[in-house]
Subunit: 390 residues, 3 copies
């Protein structure tokens, strides 16, 4: 609809460029235009991440047969509460980052991704209102940790020294461990026997979500890298995901006798989680190797560890986020010490350790608060909160 403005704008821009290119070019006009184009390119990566948040995380969680509408509505609400909240807190100057507007959007999306990971751990055990409360409590904790890791908050981690470009630690491990904390505070004994039921249709929807995450993951990791690093980052992420997918196929068949669709949908993505920290610094061979290892350990987690962990910690991790985002995320943060030249081992270990501590403690606190707003012995199903015919 902005045809006239657009037409005028383009004409004027062209005329302006024409007139000034000889002289004013020397005063930076050209770099302004380039900066705008670069920001618009980042905008497309931001849209890719939006697809991951709503469609990707949303449908991945639809594997619970009788909880599809709820999982998708929760995703809608969590995204819609977290993005604006991140803005408001930033604009109040708390944990504020310097950066362009598009960078601020992308950082808010990263926070929403971490929140959705947390929600996966307690999926089916919160009412819709409680998801909103979870979002409101999660974002400040997340921003506190982000501030320490990336902006020298409290003076612990020097700026730029903690290596985590695609958020293996700050996004994935934080969200997973926060979620475990919430789950520990929330889960009751009665739930140990309530198995999550999937069917052919919920499995296909879940794989849809998984594929959307797979496809756009390169843009997640490349969202904030320099323009000249975008292509290499994208290729590294694709190789890591390919490696993890192959490893998952083999491991699932080997460990279970038959392939499990949930393994494929989830553990294949572990490559994307683990490559995060070094996505723009690894070589392609390193990327693929990291992916293979991450896929194998994630599948091992889903097939072997999960049931034992749940008994040991007395809690249920509905979507198995500890296997998909927790272990592979920490692995990714540690791998940076091998891959990245000149990295400070001490800073990297402090960053990882502190994130683990902050996320678990804040998750436990959040779980206790959520407990006050209601608590169930068995998982919710769609029919309780939604008007449904089936």
């Amino acid at each position: 609809m902005k045809k006239i403005n657009t037409f005028l704008g383009v004409s004027l821009t062209a005329a302006f460029l024409f007139l000034v290119s000889g002289s004013v070019n020397a005063q930076g006009v050209s770099s302004d235009v380039i900066a705008t184009l670069t920001d618009v390119q980042k905008y497309y990566r931001a849209i890719h991440i939006m697809a991951m948040l709503l469609l990707g995380f949303g449908f991945l969680m639809v594997f619970v047969r009788k909880y599809g509408r709820s999982a998708l509505t929760a995703t809608f609400l969590l995204v819609s509460v977290s993005l604006p909240l991140y803005y408001v807190i930033s604009s109040l100057g708390i944990f504020a980052h310097k950066g362009s507007e598009i960078d601020a959007l992308i950082l808010a999306e990263f926070a929403a991704a971490s929140l959705l990971i947390t929600a996966g751990a307690v999926l089916g055990r919160l009412k819709m209102q409680q998801y909103l409360i979870l979002g409101v409590l999660f974002i400040p904790f997340y921003m506190f940790n982000e501030w320490i890791m990336l902006d020298n908050g409290l003076g612990i981690v020097e700026k730029g020294q903690f290596i985590d470009t695609g958020g293996s630690i700050v996004i994935h491990a934080f969200g997973a461990l926060f979620g475990l904390g919430v789950a520990i505070s929330l889960t009751t004994k009665n739930e140990y026997d309530a198995a999550v039921e999937a069917d052919a249709t919920s499995d296909r929807f879940s794989m849809l979500g998984s594929m959307i995450l797979w496809v756009f993951w390169p843009s997640f990791c490349a969202a904030l890298v320099l323009p000249e690093e975008v292509v290499l980052t994208g290729i590294n992420v694709i190789l890591a995901l390919s490696g993890a997918t192959l490893a998952t196929g083999f491991a699932s068949l080997k460990l279970r006798g038959k392939i499990d669709a949930a393994d494929i949908a989830n553990a294949s993505l572990a490559g994307g989680v683990a490559i995060g920290s070094v996505c723009n610094t690894a070589t392609p061979i390193e990327a693929m190797t990291i992916g293979v290892l991450a896929g194998a350990m994630s599948t091992f987690g889903f097939a072997v560890v999960q049931s034992r962990l749940q008994k040991g910690l007395k809690m249920i991790d509905t979507c198995g986020v500890s296997n998909l985002h927790g272990i592979p995320g920490i692995f990714g943060g540690l791998v940076a010490m091998v891959v990245v030249a000149g990295i400070s081992f001490q800073t990297q270990l402090i960053g990882i350790g502190l994130t683990i501590v902050i996320s678990i403690i804040s998750g436990l606190i959040t779980g206790k608060i959520l407990h006050l707003f209601g608590h169930r012995k068995t998982p919710y199903v769609d029919a309780e909160e939604f008007s449904v015919d089936d």
Copy 2:
């Protein structure tokens, strides 16, 4: 496959730029390259809109349980008839716009979006061939209105004075009211009791369509704005959609007692509809507020108004497009008078009023014509027009 040409092209371009950058730069070479890159960036927004047209509108309409194949096929046909038709009419010089090739594609996509909104109003009451006739009749009417609003057609609205960047009025309200006109001309009494049936799977597909619309809506509104406005426009749309989604969650629970999946899938998008007119001029706080109000009024429409309106006007609006695109669209057009500095109240009101009149009248006419090609007492189901096993 164009490897060689690409390689040669890039090399030659590089060589050329190198040779001429000192002197010819002053004659606008650089601005040509920038114009090309800017057009390619618009192309990506055009692709995002294609995703909204086929996947978004298509699957949003799959909520009718027994009409999924039909809704998707109708979407395929409507898109495929309207895009080329818009081109043909434009190229004949009728209602023609000046603009680049990519602008022409985006304007054709806007027309297709408006047509799909119209189709939502009469979903299930047309044969496949009738959807095609609807498309053929709709496009000229749409272009006539677009010509008046944006290109000073008939000399009524001065160019650039009617504020509707993202098409709240020209796309959404026009499509919805045209659809109501068609529905009034078509609907028979027998249909009042034929409730639309959804189930768990059709609801999940519908939410898939909704999420795809949500994710790519920023690119719809930003499709034709200046490069330096893309990021702000995108953020505004995301905030408006977030506000509408939260308001919908609350309103649906409050007004119905239980949340309705169709409310979430539909009314959450009202924020995108309403922010359209001012998407590139509102502040983020205004955008979020507009979204909250639009989501609330849209949910109120779905939960309270729809059944009364259907009885009053003796017609059925299958997808509730009046609640999603009609009321929020007009609201968006009116809000511009508050938000945009220096706006002409008179022009804005004339534009809105004329669009309402033109859309309803042309919809009524189109409905009468469609009536000649067959008419049913009960909604169609897949099994009638498709060879199906179920």
Copy 3:
């Protein structure tokens, strides 16, 4: 997460551009920046193709009701084995192409697309491990043919003389005929009566895959064209797909009496297949005409030819890839001789003929090898290889 680096980078870039724009511009700095932006734009087309590979081809194959998890897992595995393998072989200097990193990624994606077409021909008749073996065998054959057609391999086809920008021949026809070869070597008599069963849900998933392919097809064809050709290429592909979709609707109704959802999901895409060779050289009217013809002949293939072909050749083509990618692909390659000025008829015919011969022979060989790893009389279903509850 790369905020600091990004910030520094942007600042330094800006400062650098400012300082040098008067003088160093004349030494090509600007063209470096433009080259980077152009590569990033290609990256987005590469991501669109990833969406086609996993989501598009994957879900299009979900039309087999009891084989949804298997089809999606096979897609995951085929993509994950073929992309890295293409890289490895390239990096060993075998069939190597010169080109940027992003070009290499896109060429690898083209190979994966061709492989997925092949897999469609034998869908349901391979174990998961056999899909991997298929991938490992397919890629070298594909690269051998690509090398001959595009890189003057064996000195048969002069570089740049064979016209096939979007891969009608090298990608689509090759994959389809390779698949037929495999199918002929694999299919047993018992299967002739085992009809593929679809239902309302598998049909909707299949149309989801189809729509994703439709939406992103313009980026597939435009992936490697020059920046200034992207918009025209995109418009041509959209017109070709629109034409094919309309033709499919009419032809399906005419030939079968009722519309077949599988026709719509598949034959609508034949326009994208056929426009490939000339996507950046055809006029819009030619593009639309090519699409109409391709859609009509593809629907005729699905509705009439398929059953006869299967009896004649004693093999089953599960997804009908000969009708979607085979015939329309060859048609697209031949059409170039009419559309493209100054084309060498001889080269074009040699290229098409050789591709047909190479693809069928290598498919037959591959089928024989796959036969050694196991062979079935009836199609596989999910329950055999996956742990499922339904």
